[in-house]
Symmetry: C2
Subunit: 410 residues, 2 copies
Amino acid sequence: MPTELFTVHTPPDAWRRFREHFHPAVRAERIATADALGRVLAESVTAPGDLPEFQRSTVDGYAVNAADTYGASPGLPAFVTVVGEVPMGQAAALTIGVGEAALVHTGGMIPPGADAVVMIEHTQRVDAANIEVMQPVSPGQSVIQIGEDVRRGDVVLSAGRRLRAQDLGGLLALGVTTVHVAAPPRVGIVSTGDEVVPPDQPVQPGQVRDINSYTLAALATHAGATPVRYGIIPDNRQALAGAAARAHAECDLVIFSAGSSVSYRDMTAEVIAELGAPGVLVHGVSVKPGKPTILAVCAGKPVFGLPGNPVSAMVIFDLFITPTIAALLGETLTARPRVQARLARNIASDTGREDYVQVRLEEREGELWAVPVLGKSNLIYTLIHADGSLQVPLDSNGIRAGAWVTVTLF
Amino acid sequence: MPTELFTVHTPPDAWRRFREHFHPAVRAERIATADALGRVLAESVTAPGDLPEFQRSTVDGYAVNAADTYGASPGLPAFVTVVGEVPMGQAAALTIGVGEAALVHTGGMIPPGADAVVMIEHTQRVDAANIEVMQPVSPGQSVIQIGEDVRRGDVVLSAGRRLRAQDLGGLLALGVTTVHVAAPPRVGIVSTGDEVVPPDQPVQPGQVRDINSYTLAALATHAGATPVRYGIIPDNRQALAGAAARAHAECDLVIFSAGSSVSYRDMTAEVIAELGAPGVLVHGVSVKPGKPTILAVCAGKPVFGLPGNPVSAMVIFDLFITPTIAALLGETLTARPRVQARLARNIASDTGREDYVQVRLEEREGELWAVPVLGKSNLIYTLIHADGSLQVPLDSNGIRAGAWVTVTLF
């Protein structure tokens, strides 16, 4: 069917139609925790033990019975006998009785019998064996209790979480040295267009260099997938069908970066339809830029046809492919960072269409302003000059200059 | 000198003292643009040509002389003769005269003589050779001009920029297939502490697993550096000095993750002092958590001594090591993403000290709230439950519940 006659769906409706037929399965693998930065947990992790496993001091000082220090003051200090020291990295070999204390270091073990630590600054040495305590301590003071950080059996990190630096630390602290994470889905990228040439070749009049397959590959990498580029396929039905079949067989998700003309888009839709049932689910989304978008599921695998121009391709990637990769990773997507800013000039839009406007952020007299980056959506450099984008909702016919808007950062 | 007697510096003062002696040199390397996602440009890139290099159509339609369409309407269409088609990827072989048009595709070349494109929807075919134009177009309409995206000689991306997906696309669009980027600085990480054991070993009472060297390595990776772990060095002056000398010789930046007790910290300071002039510049920063921090420059290389507890180590990494790695990369650091939220409970602080409080973000009835994650700074899981942190400024003695605060996201 000719592109201009297709039924356009709103983005939420398009996503719903697609999602009905897309049933992602996470492929998991086990790797070393130390190598898992940025990977997505495929299974929740339960604490195999308490953390800490023994009572630890949070200060350098003397482990005591808190009761021995009650009422102590610089004028009337409590007098205690030092019975030894707990060396770092060793179990406390001594027991603290009434009127006794042991020297402990920050992080060291609290000896049995003691229930609090007096900071060294609040003590004074009397002689080789005795000290004065100038301030009272309460039971538990300057002590980390067993399991205070984490209790054995607690779920410490849930499946779907993308691991951060501190998460690796938390897992290793518990002795969890390997984790079950989602394998990166393979994202096949097929470029079409007789006008498209590889970036390392000189361009002749009428030709343009391939931008999208590299930009899309980088976006896929950023989302946690492994991109596989299938080259630039000429405007030839058989060649395109061959590349499509190969990408569909080898990858978990296939993206067609269509040539920009109607005939390429129609050919792409036909080729996608042949990759398997149910095939094309959405052809045309009420998004600007990005209207001529195809969402399909073919024999269980998600397949997308993206508009040829780079700004549209990126808008659609964020809108549909990022959440699809997250689903293949089992990732619980957290909202992208957003900032509030004031709009620097009027933006017009049509009701019934979501507009995405690239903006540059500028601070003016302490206020953040969102300055729309002007330019046709065919211009790659609008993306490069932008810090993020803002959405003009479906039911809006525009936003006035000066209004507060939410900018989603790239 | 004993730790408790050192002169404490405010964070800005500490950074100033350190920066006076730290003169970073960027080590550059040339790599393929396609592989440069996340890398930092070591040289600004200038456009080697115009983009686009020829006039392109932004729509499917007919290239015409705009003047031929003036006054056209559905009731009184303009009549033009179609003299041919411009195939995609080819130079336009025909010239458009008065009263003539050529079929062009989106992204295709505008033939000489034409100055605008009428969208196909606004035309009607009369016979094999002629069409009617129902709407006037103005000169330049639906045409991207030569150099409209980028002009030859423009600086398209500046040195110091961390490359994003769309930046790679922009470079490749210009045929810039290799780029000069900063080589990742090598960050040596030396852990000390008799109580610290490798994460894959069972812990005995009094021992803890190494967390910091892995968390710090992941933070270094995230910042764009290559971490090199030098293992866990026992509380032995000679062993520590040996590891320090090796790390200092092999790396561009050295971090000591000190054992938590005063004696380890003092020993670390002494060992750092011997690595070269000027040595220790700051020993003690008015930050909570993170006070017992060492900033040093030894024979031209930055060296840091971090507190042993994981929360402090991460606060100090963000405060001093992230900008140091950025300096070694020549990176223009952009502000970390921040959000505004309301504080869920009172936070007390002391004037003259910067406090960093880990918070979890919660949406309550459409408003974002920052909920402080309670827990001693020795607890790694406070970091894991937190989405970001907020700063209580030097001159503040706290923040009241309900106040709007700025949360810097992790």
